[in-house]
Structure formats: C-alpha cells, structure tokens
C-alpha cells in the first residue's frame, strides 16, 4: 500500500507572475525514491511547466542543488525516505536570483569563483613532471578540497553571503586554498592578495553552515582558516 507524498513546490515565473506561490502535488511514493524522481514524476504526469535543473542524477555534476525541507541539498542524492516525513517542501537555492521555479541564476556564484583566479598557474618551466606520491599528505589534503562540484549549496547556506553581496563565499575560498596549498602552483601570493580582504577570508565567522550542507563533505571553514593563517603570517612577516 503506497502512501502519497505531499509535495509543496515553489513556483515563480517572472514573465507571468507578480508574486511567487507554492503549488501542492500528491505523488505516490516509490521505493528508494529520490527528490529528483519526485520532480520527474510531477513534471511528467502533473505539471509540464515545472522547471528544475538536473543532469547526471548521481551527485557528480552539482546541477540539482535546491532547498529541500529546510536545507540546501542535491535533489538526486536526497532520498525521500531519509527525510523522515511525508511532506516535502521544495524551494530554489537562497542567496541567488531566481530564473524560474526551482532554477536559480548561478552567475553571481561563478563570478565570485572567477575572482580568486581559480585555475592552475604553473610555477616554472619544467622538462619533467612533479612527482607526488599517491599516499602523500599533501595529495590527500588537496584531494579533499578538489571534490567540489560547484553545486552552490554552501554558498546558499552562508549567512554572510546573504547579508554581504560582495562576499566571495565558501566555494570560491575553498578553491583558492586548494590551489594555494598546491606546491606546483605559482600564483599563491597573488591569490592571498585576492582573498585577504574584508570581502574575502575576513568575512567568515565560522558558522559552519557550509559544512552542514556540502554533499562532498568538504570543510570550507577549514580552507578559509588556512588562508587566514597565511594572510596573518604574511602581514607579520613570518615565513611559513
């Protein structure tokens, strides 16, 4: 006997609607259903105008991040059974402009990402490759931070992002440290200059919301702390 789920979905079409609204749908629950399956169900059978982003459906692309039952999560990786209730509330990610329904404009997120020079800059001309062994600590450190799929969950959960539109945010700062920590990269000093200001590392107040929501278990707060340490050492003239 399958129980129906009550799904309240945020709807807003700026071209047509003055104000947003919540539409309620009844969806039969299926075994091991994820929120993404719910959305497909609604879109296929009940309302073809529902808009949402998705792609890989296995938690790798970061497209389907949305605000599910009080928290930013990936729709494809959130099992309905795990939510512990038959009422599902779906809203678009906070802190970002809404394009339509559950789709947000990720431009501000990626603009800030670009601000930290998020690409590898080789340190020197080399004829051979760097050798970093598989189990090395430095590799493990960077591997963790490299997992970021730029889903925007952390960015949408940080209070400092909400109140300060210029704050770089956890994802961009995590990316900055990922590269600063890499001994092969040559733009570390410049990146510290780019993030070491009041709209960068100094805006974080260790709220840990980013850690709560990251689907890849990254700890951006830690990355930000490491950047801060380097900024302070640089200011005090201490060489790391």
């Amino acid at each position: 006997m399958s129980v129906n789920l009550t799904v309240k979905v945020f709807r807003y079409n700026p071209e047509v609607d003055d104000l947003p609204r919540f539409d309620t749908f009844d969806v039969p629950e299926m075994k091991n259903m994820a929120v993404l399956d719910l959305l497909y169900q609604i879109q296929d059978n009940q309302d073809r105008s529902l808009s949402f982003r998705c792609s890989c459906r296995i938690g790798m692309c970061g497209s389907c991040a949305m605000f599910i039952n009080g928290k930013s999560r990936l729709a494809c990786r959130t099992l309905v059974g795990g939510l512990g209730t038959k009422e599902i509330h779906l809203r678009p990610l906070p802190n970002l402009p809404i394009l339509k329904d559950l789709v947000v404009d990720m431009d501000p997120f990626f603009d800030k990402y670009e601000r930290v020079k998020p690409y590898f800059v080789p340190k020197e001309e080399r004829k051979d490759f760097y050798r970093v062994s598989e189990g090395a600590d430095e590799r493990k450190l960077i591997d963790e931070m490299l997992e970021c799929i730029t889903c925007g969950a952390c960015y949408s959960s940080c209070t400092m992002v909400t109140t300060d539109p210029d704050y770089l945010g956890p994802a961009a700062l995590n990316r900055a440290f990922c590269l600063v920590a890499d001994k092969r990269d040559g733009a570390g000093a410049e990146r510290l200059r780019l993030v070491g200001n009041t709209d960068g590392v100094w805006r974080c107040h260790s709220q840990f919301n980013c850690v709560e929501v990251c689907p890849k278990q990254i700890i951006p707060t830690w990355s930000i702390q490491q950047l801060r340490k380097r900024c302070v050492f640089k200011k005090l003239g201490i060489r790391v």
């Binding site: 945020f10 678009p92 906070p94 809404i98 909400t162 840990f208 707060t221 340490k229």
Partner: protein, 143 residues
C-alpha cells in the same frame, strides 16, 4: 501566501524570507554552528552596549567625587533588580567568552572537525559557571 517575497537588493533577488536577520526563518532547524554564531553576536552586541554605559557611568561617578560614587554604588549593589540584571550580564559574558575561546581554537586550526562537540562542552562550562555564580549571588538577592 504571506511572507514569501522576492527581495531585490542591488539587483539580487533572494528567494527565502530574509530581511536583515537572515536565515533564522529559513533554516529549520538551525544547526549547532549557526546557534553558536547567533548567540555570540547577540551577547556581543549586548555587552558592547553595556560597556559603553558602564564606562560612561563609572567615569562620571568617579569624577564627581566620593559622595556621588558611594551613593550610586550602594544603590546599585543593593537593588535586587540590578543584581538579577547582573546575573544576566554574567551569563552573556560567559557565553561570549567561552564560545570565543572555541572560535580561537578554530582560528588556530584545532578542533574544526569536532566543532559541535566542542560547542556542547563550552555550553556545559557556561552552565556550570553560571550556576556557581547564581548560587553565590542568590543570598544577596533574597536578603
């Protein structure tokens, strides 16, 4: 559908009910780290306001001379209301101070992976010290 609005601030539309005390209504329930942040901020503001009043009041009392100073202090320190307010102040000092130590630990890179446990330990310390101070001041309040 009261309360849900798209707020435009400098061109940004924010989907959730935010306003100027953000995320308190959006995040349900608030995570431990967010409680810590909020408590730290509220106690900080309260203590900052108190500090400005305290410095002004005490300085003026001292500058006006012993009579005014003595009468002011005896009035304050025997007032039951003031003693209760004082307990609240001490609670704020404890919360802000001990959570502050927790934050300094994180700034040194210690304990970030166990931030929730450290917060609960800090609050237990706050509770213990507050109970100590309460029991110490209680005789004065009920006298």
């Amino acid at each position: 559908m009261k309360g849900i609005r798209t707020v435009t601030r400098r061109g940004l539309s924010i989907s959730a009910k935010t306003g100027y005390i953000p995320n308190l209504t959006v995040w349900k329930p608030m995570a431990v780290g967010m409680w810590a942040w909020w408590l730290h901020r509220i106690t900080g503001l309260a203590l900052a306001a108190y500090l400005l009043i305290h410095v002004s009041l005490m300085s003026i009392a001292i500058l006006k001379g012993p009579e005014l100073f003595d009468s002011l202090l005896s009035m304050l320190m025997t007032s039951k209301l003031f003693l209760i307010f004082d307990l609240g102040l001490f609670a704020a000092v404890l919360i802000h101070g001990i959570n502050g130590v927790r934050l300094i630990l994180f700034d040194l890179g210690i304990g970030m992976r166990r931030q929730k446990e450290i917060f609960w330990f800090a609050m237990a310390l706050v509770a213990a010290l507050f109970i100590w101070s309460f029991l110490r001041i209680l005789p004065e309040i009920v006298r």
